[in-house]
Amino acid sequence: MIALPALILLPATGGLTAWLSDRGRQASSLSWWVAITTILLQALLLLFITCTAEWGHGPWLAHFSTPWIPALGIAARMDMDGLSLVMLWLTTLLSFPCVILSARDVGEQPGLFHLLLLATIAGINGVFLATDLFLFFFFWELMLVPMYVLILQWGHEDRRRAAIKFFLFTQGSGLLMLVAILGLVILHQHATGIVTFDYFVLADTPLMPTTAMVLMLGFFVAFAVKLPVVPLHVWLPDTHTQAPTAGSVLLAGILLKTGGYGLIRFVALLFPEAAARFAPVALALGVAGILYGAWLSLAQDDMKRLIAYSSVSHLGFVLLGIFSGSPMGMRGAVVQMVAHGLSTGALFVIAGSLQDRLHTRDMRRMGGLWQALPHLSSVGLFFAIASLGLPGMGNFVGEFLTLLATWRVSPPMAILGTAGLVLSAVYSLTMVGRAFLGPPHAGQGTIHTPPPADFGPRQMTVLSLTMALLLLLGTYPQPVLDLSLPAPAHATPQPEGLHP
C-alpha cells in the first residue's frame, strides 16, 4: 500500500514547505498554517489507511515493499499491524497539541521550528512502520537530529548540556543496536548464505542461546535508553526539563514510546527465548524504575522535572507488562503507553504554559493559582489525577493489566509495583497542592501586576479532547486492547503482488 511511505513523506514535505514558506520573514504565521494543514492531512491519511486496511486477513493490516539496496538485501519494507496502528494514531493525535499550543515557544525562525517538528514526526512514523532492520535503524537515527536541534535552539536555560546529553545517550546506544542488528544479519548469512535485513526472514535465524542473549541485549540497551529503564534514564530529566514545551510533549508523548514499541517488536518477538530468560532481570528493572522514579518525583521542586521522573515511574509498568510474557501484560503495556502519552503530554503542556506565564517552573514560587487561573488549574488537576491512575482513566487500565499479568509471574514484583502507585498518588497530589491550591505565593501578585492570562478556548479545546480520549480509553479500552496485541514475527505477511 503506497499510503504507508506517504505517512513518512507527507510530514517531511510539509516540513520543507513550512520552512520555505517562512524563509527570510520574521514572526510570520504562514509556516504554522502549513504545519497544521500537514498534520490534518496526516490524520486524514491515517484514517484512510485504517479504513482500507486488510481487516480480517490475519494480524498484518497493510504492507509496502520496494527494493532499496538490493546488493545488500536491504529493502524499503514497511508493514503495519494493530500495534503500529495504535502507535501511529497516538503520534498523529499528539502532534496536534505540539503544533497548536507551541505558538508561544517559537519566537524567531518559526519555519525552521515547524520543519524540525514535522521531521521528527516523520522519523517516528517510520520507526513504527519499518520491518526492514536497516530501514528501521535509518529512521531511528533520523528522528534524533531534528529533536536535538529543537532542544538546542528553543530549549530553556541549560539547553546545551541537555541536548548533547540526549544525543550522546541515544546515539551511543543506537550504535550498540546497530552492531546487534548486523550481528544478526551476519549470523543469518552464515547459516543460510543470504544477506538480508528483512525482519521476518531474520526472525527465523537459528541462534545459540548465548548469542541470542548477547544480540537481544544489544537491542534492549538501545530501547531501554529510550523508554527509559532505570540505570539508563540519566538523560531524561535534564532533557525533558530543558526542552521547549512542544519538544517535551513530543519526547514524553511519542519518542519514549518508540522504546516500548521497539522492546515489543524487536526484543520480545525477535528473540522470544532470550527475552523469556532475561525477563526476571527486566521485571526487577521495571520495578526499580517504578519505585525510583516515584521516589525522586517526591523530592522535586521543579515541575517539569517532577513530571519527567514520574514518566520514569510510569514507563516502568510498560517494562513489567512486556516482560510478564503474557498477552494480557503486552496489552496492558500498550494501553499504558497510550495513556501515558496523552496524560504526560498534557501535563507538559500545562507546565510549559505555567512557565510562560510565571517565568518559573519552581513550585516553591507557585501556589494558589486556582483563583488566578481556574481553567488551567482544573485541567492540571484532571491530568494529575489521571496520571496517578484513578479508575475510569486509561492509565488505570494499563497499570491494572500489567500488574495483574506480573502477579501471575511473580507476586513480590507486583506488590512492589503497586507500592509505586501509592507514591504516585502522593507526588501527583502534592504537585496539585503546591501549585494550584494553598495560599498564593507572596511575590506573585506584585511581580505580575496584571494577573497571568488563563487558558483560552484554543488550549481548552485541545486539552478537553485529550481528556475525552483518556476517559474513553479508561471506560471502553476494548478497541485498543484488541488492536494492541502485536503480530507475531514469523507470520510472514501476504505478498502484495509487487514481486511476482
Binding site: 515493499s65 527494493p67 532499496w68 539496496i69 538490493p70 546488493a71 545488500l72 538485501g73 529493502a75 536497516f134 535503524f137 535509518f138 537515527e141 533520523l142 534524533l144 537530529v145 536535538y148 536541534v149 538546542l152 535552539q153 546545551r160 541536548a163 548533547i164 544525543f167 550522546l168 546515539q171 551511543g172 550504535l175 550498540l176 546497530l178 552492531v179 548486523l182 550481528g183 544479519v185 551476519i186 548469512q189 552464515h190 547459516a191 543460510t192 548464505g193 543470504i194 544477506v195 538480508t196 535485513f197 528483512d198 521476518f200 526472514v201 510472514t492 505478498p495 514481486h499 511476482p500
Partner: protein
C-alpha cells in the same frame, strides 16, 4: 618494455602531457586563467580516459609495473574528482592562486595515481615521492603566513624520515624475496620469518607516517593549519586516498585474519587512530585542526575495513573513501568559502548570516559523524557490517566508543553555527565556483546516502584478494525472492 607498459592506464600519460603543456605555457606567458583551464581539462580528460578500453594485459600482476584493475579505476576516479574539487577551491582564493600552484596540484595528482596503480615497489616509491615533493611546495605556499614555514619544515623532515624508513623496508623485502613486486612478503620464505616481518613492519611504519595514523600522526594538525585551505583538503583527501589504496594493494595477498605481526600491528594502529584522532579533534578550537583529527579517526575506521577481509571488507572501504572524500572536501570548501577565521568562534551564528553555507557545512559534518540521511551513515554501517562479518569485536567496540566522541565535536560545530552571532561582521563571499562546488558536494552527500545502491554495485569486488573463503560464500542477496516464493 612493451610488456611492462602493457598495463599502463591512459590517465597517466594524459596527466603527464598536461603537466608538460602547463610548464610550456608558464614558460611562454603567465596567466592564471589559462593555467586553471589547462589543469582542469587535463583532469577531466584523465577522468574520461578511465572508461577507455584498456590495452590487453595478462590479468596477472606478476612482472608488471601497473595494475589497471577495478580498484585502480575506482580510486583514480576518486583522486581525480577530489583534485578537481581542490582546484575549484583554489581558484581565485587570496594567497594561493598562481600558475605554479595548479602545476604542483597536477603533479601531486599524478603521484597519487601512480601510487594507486603501481604493482612494483620502485614505481610505488616514485609515485609517493612525486606526491610528497609537490605537497611540500604546496604547504609552503603562503610564504608570508607565520605558520607556513613551520608546517613545511615539519612536513619535510617527517616525510623524508618516513620515506627513508619505507625505502629500507622495501629493500629488506627485496632482499628476502628477490622480487620488486609491491606486496607484503610471505612469511614462509626459506630465510625464516624474521626478514619479511622486519620488512613489513618498516613499510607499514613508512606508510602510517604518510597516512598520519596514530602514533605517527603528530605532524598532521600543524601542517593542515599552516597550509592553505585547498592544500589542507588535498592532504586530507587526495593523498590519503592514494596511500590507503596502496596499503590495501600491499596487503591484497595476505590473510589479515591470521593473528600474525602485520595484522596485529594494523589492528593496534587502527584502535589508536580511532581514539587518538577523535580525542585530538575533541580539544580543538580551530576547524582545520579539528578536521585533521577527524581525518585521523577516519583512517582508523578505514583500517578496520581493511582488517575485515571477506565479501564486505574492501567494498566498504571503497564506499567509505568516497563518503569521506565528499564530506571532507565539502567541509574544506565551506571553510574556504566562509572567509572567516577557521576557529569555531568565527563560525558562530553562521546559520543566521549564511544559511545556505551553514546548511551545507552541517550536512558535511553530519556525514562525517555518520548520521542519516548523509552517505557517511551508510558507509559507516557498511564498515560495521564488514567488521561484524570478520568478528573484529574489539575494533567494533572501539569504533562505537570513538564514534560517540566524534559525535560530540561534530555536533559542537553545528551548535556553534546555530548560536546567535556576536556581531554583524560579514567579510567577502567565496567565488561562485566554490559555492557551486559546495552545493554539488552537499547534494551528492545526501543523495548518495539515500540511494547508495549504485555505489554498492560499483564497489563490489574491486580488488580481488587471495581467496579466503569462510563457511558460506556470499550470494547476491535476493530477500524478496526468498520471501515471496511459496
Amino acid at each position: 618494455m612493451t610488456t611492462l607498459l602493457s598495463g599502463l592506464p591512459p590517465s597517466l600519460p594524459i596527466l603527464s602531457g598536461g603537466i608538460a603543456l602547463l610548464l610550456l605555457c608558464i614558460a611562454w606567458r603567465r596567466s592564471e586563467g589559462r593555467a586553471i583551464v589547462i589543469a582542469l581539462a587535463t583532469l577531466l580528460l584523465a577522468f574520461a580516459s578511465l572508461w577507455w578500453p584498456l590495452l590487453p594485459w595478462p590479468g596477472d600482476p606478476m612482472g608488471m609495473l601497473f595494475v589497471p584493475d577495478g580498484w585502480f579505476t575506482y580510486i583514480a576516479a576518486l583522486i581525480l574528482l577530489s583534485s578537481t574539487a581542490t582546484m575549484i577551491m583554489a581558484w581565485r582564493e587570496t594567497g594561493t592562486s598562481s600558475d605554479e600552484f595548479y602545476l604542483l596540484l597536477l603533479l601531486g595528482t599524478l603521484g597519487a595515481l601512480v601510487m594507486a596503480g603501481s604493482a612494483d615497489m620502485v614505481i610505488f616509491f616514485l609515485g609517493l615521492e612525486t606526491l610528497s615533493l609537490s605537497l611540500l611546495g604546496l604547504i609552503a605556499w603562503r610564504r608570508t603566513h607565520p605558520t607556513a614555514d613551520e608546517a613545511a619544515i615539519k612536513y619535510l623532515i617527517l616525510a623524508g624520515l618516513s620515506s627513508a624508513i619505507l625505502l629500507f623496508g622495501l629493500a629488506l623485502s627485496h632482499a628476502d624475496s628477490g622480487s620488486l613486486r609491491f606486496a607484503a612478503p610471505s612469511l614462509e620464505g626459506p630465510e625464516g620469518p624474521a626478514l619479511p616481518l622486519a620488512a613489513t613492519a618498516l613499510v607499514l611504519t613508512g606508510l602510517f607516517f604518510k597516512l598520519s595514523a596514530v602514533p605517527f600522526h603528530t605532524w598532521l594538525p600543524d601542517v593542515m593549519e599552516g597550509a592553505p585551505t585547498p592544500v589542507a583538503s588535498f592532504i586530507a583527501v587526495t593523498s590519503k586516498i592514494a596511500l590507503f589504496a596502496a596499503l590495501a594493494r600491499y596487503f591484497a595477498g595476505a590473510d589479515l585474519l591470521r593473528p600474525d605481526a602485520a595484522g596485529t600491528e594494523l589492528a593496534i594502529v587502527a584502535l589508536l587512530s580511532m581514539f587518538g584522532g577523535n580525542l585530538l579533534a575533541l580539544g580543538q578550537n580551530n576547524l582545520k585542526r579539528l578536521l585533521a583529527g577527524s581525518s585521523i579517526a577516519h583512517v582508523g575506521y578505514l583500517l578496520l575495513a581493511l582488517l575485515s577481509p571477506g565479501p564486505f571488507g574492501l567494498a566498504s572501504a571503497a564506499i567509505y573513501l568516497a563518503a569521506y572524500a565528499a564530506a571532507t572536501s565539502g567541509a574544506f570548501a565551506a571553510l574556504g568559502g566562509a572567509s572567516v577565521p577557521a576557529d569555531i568562534a568565527g563560525w558562530r551564528g553562521m546559520f543566521r548570516h549564511r544559511p545556505a553555507l551553514a546548511f551545507a557545512m552541517a550536512i558535511m559534518l553530519i556525514s562525517l559523524a555518520g548520521i542519516p540521511p548523509a552517505i557517511g551513515f551508510f558507509a559507516k554501517t557498511y564498515i560495521v557490517i564488514a567488521g561484524v562479518s570478520a568478528r573484529r569485536i574489539v575494533l567494533l567496540v572501539a569504533l562505537v566508543a570513538s564514534s560517540i566522541i566524534g559525535l560530540y565535536y561534530y555536533l559542537n560545530v553545528v551548535r556553534a553555527m546555530m548560536e546567535p552571532a556576536p556581531e554583524e561582521h560579514r567579510a567577502a563571499r567565496g567565488t561562485p565556483a566554490n559555492a557551486g562546488l559546495i552545493a554539488i558536494l552537499a547534494i551528492v552527500t545526501v543523495l548518495a546516502g539515500l540511494f547508495p545502491e549504485t555505489l554498492v554495485r560499483q564497489t563490489h569486488s574491486l580488488l580481488r584478494p587471495a581467496p579466503i573463503m569462510r563457511e558460506a560464500s556470499l550470494r547476491p542477496a535476493a530477500p524478496h525472492d526468498i520471501l515471496y516464493r511459496e
